[in-house]
């Protein structure tokens, strides 16, 4: 009996390890290619005979490349914009979620349904008027144009509301009896208890913005405002044949999400699973 289950476990391990290996192959190829020469990439050797770390320095410092692109700047832009979007999204979403989850007011459920309804609206529907709005406000080609429209998330409100609904109401009732204001209750009682949800939302918002291409592509005109995805697109268009440089840039673009993932995995899993619960 025990050996049968042990054999089954082994079979599961073999299958899972195989699937994992196949799924990791593109990453492994990318990593190895980023240390090769173009000739070696096109050859059949798996490992680079010598590790060409200069591919990485070239992407940043080659004078020819630096004329057209500035990856140091792209790193800064991507992280700067994504960090602001994350901060604003979390704060505005948490406040709105509190109003939906904890306060009682006429029309609450109608307004919430309106929020939920817009989750169905494709991004391209709002993109065109948003672009026209930025033209009118003269915010095209600016950090504000990249940050502000992306900072109000109906999904964030929905996710945090789900989290807040799981917090026992006895806690805020006790605080209310002690004479705490709504803001105090929100800040001192609800927000700390919503922390796992907030972290999950922060990861989603950061990564979603870090990877976004459509909006930065239509908003940004100047080279110095390009985020990493836009910079990568132009780099690929110009230096598409230099596979090794492209792969070095790809590795570097993938590093921040990778680190974030390793650090925040626990919260993410919870966030995804709670976001799916209909409420």
């Amino acid at each position: 009996m025990a050996s049968a289950s042990a054999r089954k476990q082994l079979a599961a391990h073999v299958i899972l390890a195989l699937v994992a290996l196949v799924m990791m192959l593109p990453f492994i190829w990318m990593f190895l290619a980023s240390f090769k020469t173009v000739r070696e990439v096109e050859g059949s050797q798996i490992f680079p005979p010598t590790w060409h770390t200069e591919n990485y320095t070239k992407v940043f410092a080659d004078p020819e490349i630096a004329k057209r692109s500035n990856f140091g700047r792209y790193y800064f832009n991507s992280v700067f914009v994504a960090a602001w979007v994350t901060f604003l999204t979390c704060i505005t979403s948490a406040m709105a979620a509190y109003a939906f989850a904890r306060l009682r007011w006429r029309g609450r459920d109608t307004v919430f349904l309106l929020y939920l309804g817009t989750l169905m609206v494709p991004g391209v529907v709002t993109m065109i008027p948003n672009f026209a709005l930025l033209v009118k406000l003269k915010l095209l080609d600016s950090y504000a144009g990249l940050i502000v429209p992306a900072s109000f998330s109906a999904f964030g409100v929905f996710l945090l509301r789900q989290f807040m609904l799981t917090i026992p109401t006895s806690l805020d009732e006790a605080a209310a009896i002690d004479g705490a204001s709504k803001w105090r209750i929100f800040w001192d009682v609800i927000l700390p208890l919503t922390r796992p949800g907030l972290i999950a939302l922060a990861i989603f918002a950061f990564i979603g913005n870090y990877q976004s291409l459509f909006w930065p592509l239509v908003v940004v005109k100047s080279q110095y405002l390009r985020t990493w995805p836009v910079g990568m697109l132009f780099f690929d268009t110009t230096y598409g044949r230099e596979t090794t440089l492209i792969m070095a840039a790809s590795v570097m673009a993938t590093l921040p999400p990778l680190i974030l993932f390793v650090v925040g995995q626990k919260f993410l899993v919870k966030g995804i699973q709670l976001g799916a619960v209909k409420g």
């Binding site: 599961a12 593109p26 007011w105 709002t126 008027p129 900072s151 790809s250 999400p257």
Partner: protein, 320 residues
């Protein structure tokens, strides 16, 4: 007594809601209304023609053009990987839920493509599919040579061929176009991205919620593993499957922009142009904002209809 206390929440509620609600009005709700209006105009950012309301002309032109139907079919065709990805996610979740040692390591590795998916990985896949030097065709070539198979590796992203033999730029089929091409390459990539992603996590969570007694009862009735899956697990997972299908369809229909922009420019011969990419071209390269808004609203209408249908049909299927 309680009534009065509750109604007094309106003012603080306004305060809490205001920052998000302003943004919501300005960047979501307002634009939705605005774009609906715009879809009935000839709005053009280059002002080549005087601005005017033109009724349903945009929609008439759209439905009358073969282009639109071709791109709609492209969009749907690129989603045929979905059932496979969902079935794969379920299979992985079933294996992971057996409380294996190292389960979190597998889960982390499986989730990696979803989490790191972006321009960098699309550029990577473009290289993987390179017809001459890409590792996919190099491996395929080595295998076919070793086995002496009369088989040319496909040209992937550079080929308009597809499994159904759809003729590029037309709603028609021809034998000549049967094969593996850009669309199959993209479908394969999207399965790779989705397989161990959010759907697998949702299934994992749902599996832990299946009451253990149900399996014990089934075992007493003499049901084997296969029967237990179909009579216990699968019905218990129905709400999750339903949710996954709805969400995947919604995202699938509005997808394809990044892939087209980075990997194929919508080609070859328009075979990977989805509705989302078509809207981008019309709006931000040809600046026909009115016409682009009309396409966007047709897309919205389809998503809305499918969601409603899923709801009707799905809630019945789930409750049975």
């Amino acid at each position: 007594m309680t009534r009065t206390r509750h109604s007094s929440d309106l003012l603080p509620a306004l305060g809490f809601l205001l920052p998000n609600f302003l943004g919501f009005l300005l960047f979501t709700a307002g634009p939705v209304v605005f774009s609906f209006g715009a879809s009935f105009t000839n709005w053009d950012l280059q002002h080549s023609v005087p601005f005017a309301f033109i009724g349903a002309d945009n929609f008439r032109q759209l439905f009358g053009s073969e282009e639109f139907w071709v791109y709609l079919i492209n969009t749907v065709y690129l989603m045929i990987g979905l059932p496979f990805a969902i079935a794969g996610s379920l299979a992985l979740a079933l294996m992971l839920s057996q409380k294996l040692r190292g389960m979190t390591v597998y889960r982390t590795l499986f989730y990696l493509p979803t989490f790191t998916y972006g321009v960098a990985l699309m550029v990577l896949w473009k290289k993987l599919y390179s017809p001459e030097f890409g590792p996919i065709n190099v491996s395929l070539g080595a295998i076919t040579r070793a086995l002496h198979l009369p088989f040319e590796p496909p040209k992937w992203l550079q080929s308009a061929d597809n499994l159904m033999g759809m003729v590029p730029q037309h709603v028609a089929f021809h034998r000549q176009y049967v094969g593996l091409g850009a669309r199959e390459a993209l479908i394969n990539m999207s399965v790779w991205v989705a397989l161990g992603g959010n759907n697998m996590l949702l299934y994992l969570a749902a599996l832990t919620n299946v009451p253990q007694e149900l399996y014990e009862a089934a075992e007493i009735d003499g049901a084997n593993k296969w029967k237990q899956f179909w009579h216990v697990t699968w019905p218990q997972l129905a709400p999750t499957t339903f949710f996954i299908i709805v969400i995947s369809t919604i995202f699938g229909l509005q997808g394809g922009f990044e892939i087209a922009r980075i990997m194929t420019e919508g080609g070859p011969a328009g075979t990977t142009t989805t509705l989302a990419y078509y809207i981008y071209i019309k709006a931000f390269q040809e600046f026909q904002m009115g016409y682009a808004s009309a396409i966007a609203w047709v897309l919205f209408a389809m998503i809305f209809a499918i969601t409603l249908m899923n709801w009707r049909f799905g809630s019945r299927a789930v409750n049975e």
